[in-house]
């Protein structure tokens, strides 16, 4: 491989970016061809059927609650309890149930507002986390500076520290500095994603060629230009993955907002729904069950949609980076 002459070297770093992207695609195609044909295992035909059946049963286990959620979002409270859970019942009140979400529910706040809060927290929190992870990952992967190893180990040491362990400490600090009920109190800690930094460092090390960075520097590009024009386009799939993971983390976060928000007007969906559940479960507030179920459905849809839309950019293999290196 050393002796091969440089054939038709693409000029400029834009072309080389494209070459790197092509290489990535080829690697994925090679991965697909990496499976050993099943017939080699000499399995009986029944085995394939049996294993497929196992998977189908588990899929049923996974999907049944979601089917229940969709079906029961169309029911009245009485029908939720009195009719069979996995089939529809008259009257069909889906739109009525959804319209209830726009109303204030006996002082416990408005669902739509919680939805807006969640979207805001998720967008700002995950967006900020992604930017910080991209910068830090690039800094750790493509620079060496005094203390860079120590700082990277410091980051790694927080890899498994969950937000649950920090939630009460955060509350104590917020009480001192007046961040209780502040959106920043929710958004800023959501930007801390050591896993994301680690993923981005791994991803950049593999997908942003150091030669390319050096070439751009020789062409006179500054550090920020190199980062924006070369590194960012190459790390895009990694960035989308980190963004999605952080959206899910913020969207689904329950413990932190439960602790730091005391006004129901700042609640995200998760805390709002648990408030509704408290009312519905103990039966103190009549008619809350349809709101709860329709609200749950509407909570689930955006995240699932986001995953479906961005699925082709989502790199599941990066998830493994978060646990194996």
């Amino acid at each position: 491989m050393m002796t091969a002459p440089p054939p038709a070297e693409p000029h400029g770093w834009a072309a080389r970016c494209k070459a790197a992207a092509t290489k990535r695609r080829e690697r994925r195609a090679a991965e697909l061809a990496n499976a050993v044909p099943i017939r080699l295992y000499g399995l009986r035909r029944g085995t394939v059927t049996a294993l497929t059946l196992c998977a189908a049963l588990f899929a049923l286990f996974i999907l049944a609650p979601l089917a229940w959620l969709v079906i029961n979002a169309t029911k009245t409270q009485a029908n939720v309890y009195n009719t069979f859970g996995f089939w529809f019942a008259r009257p069909f009140t889906l739109f009525h149930n959804l319209s209830l979400l726009t109303q204030s529910m006996s002082g416990s706040g408005v669902y739509l507002q919680w939805m807006g809060n969640t979207a805001l927290y998720a967008a700002v929190g995950a967006g900020g986390a992604t930017v910080l992870c991209a910068l830090a990952g690039y800094g750790f992967a493509r620079y060496r500076f005094r203390g860079s190893n120590a700082l990277f180990y410091l980051t790694l040491s927080t890899l498994l520290v969950p937000i649950t362990a920090v939630a009460l400490p955060l509350y104590l600090v917020y009480a001192k500095v007046g961040l209780i009920n502040s959106i920043w109190g929710m958004v800023l800690p959501s930007m801390v994603s050591p896993v994301g930094v680690y993923l981005m460092r791994t991803y950049i090390a593999a997908s942003v060629p150091p030669d390319l960075v050096a070439a751009a520097r020789i062409d006179g590009a500054g550090e920020v230009t190199v980062f924006r024009k070369i590194a960012v386009p190459l790390m895009l799939p990694g960035l989308v993955t980190v963004f999605l993971l952080n959206v899910v983390a913020v969207w689904n976060n329950y413990f932190l907002p439960l602790i730091i928000f005391t006004h129901s007007s700042s609640y995200p969906l998760t805390v709002g729904l648990s408030l509704l559940a408290q009312g519905a479960g103990t039966g103190t507030k009549g008619g809350l069950v349809p709101v709860l179920i329709a609200g749950g459905l509407v909570t689930v849809i955006p995240v699932v949609l986001l995953f479906v839309l961005l699925q082709r950019y989502f790199r599941a293999d990066l998830l493994r980076g978060s646990t194996t290196g």
Binding site: L154, V161, Y171
Partner: protein
Amino acid sequence: MASAGVGVLSAPARPAQAAPRRPRRGRGERGGVRGLWFVLPFLAVLTLFMFVPLGYAIYTSLFTTKLIGGTTFAGLANYRQVLTSADFWDGVRRVLIFAVIQVPVTIGLAAFFAAIFDLGVAKFGRFFRVVFFIPFAIPAVVGALMWSFLLLPQLGPYTRVAGALGFPGANYFSSTLVLPTIILVVIWEWTGYNMTILYTALKSIPRDVVEAAVIDGATFSRVILRVKLPMIKPAVVMLVFVNLVGALQLFTEPSILSAFQPQAVSYSFTPALYVYNTSIGSGEYNLGAAAAVVLGLVIGLISAGSLAWRRRKGDLA
């Protein structure tokens, strides 16, 4: 890089490989502090929103606040109270029981499905992988809510089916059954995520290893148990750590389930609930801070264990 050679074979036009070898530049630019500017914003947020609060919680935990007399230094008294509290240990014991069941079942199921999808011995593998991963994107609050309704005493559809199958009147929120119910919900939530990680780990095993085993006459189950599983052991061990940390901070599922049957879930049902209820619930912030520090320490130890394990394996070179 193991893939470099393969890359040259399949794509001879690749420029970087063909270029004459230059002196290695290591990970990147040496010297200077330009890299620090990229890392600094993250480190600032990390410090302000993780290290500072943890430090402040430790400080707070050393004091007591009384209605009369104000705040006084108490040394380790709060820790003594937490560590001698039967309620706290009750919660610890419960999450340990939870972990002993949930972690192996989740990882076992995940490994089973990852293996059969990786080998392609079940049909529609791609479809199933997407379906299994869905609960990861669903808030635990909603997951727990759905399961609460499904298992509602007398009225839930699953309860009715169980009744028809000969288990009438089972109350899945009773104090004896609530923990198994939570385990079920958590398995529903996390198996797909674990499976996705194990699947990608299995996919990265080179084909020739498996081919060699098959040619040597290894049966299907031997390929999985003797060839593939040992090669993904690092991923499995890391998942054990991740799931263990998850188990220790169990909070959302029991607190949602308690909305339906408040007496089944005590205020110290899990350590995280204990932290929440002593501090936010009853205003004993110093005590809650001590409990949070204890919980954080245990999680920190597990983290450190996983880090040490990785280093020993040379994963973090």
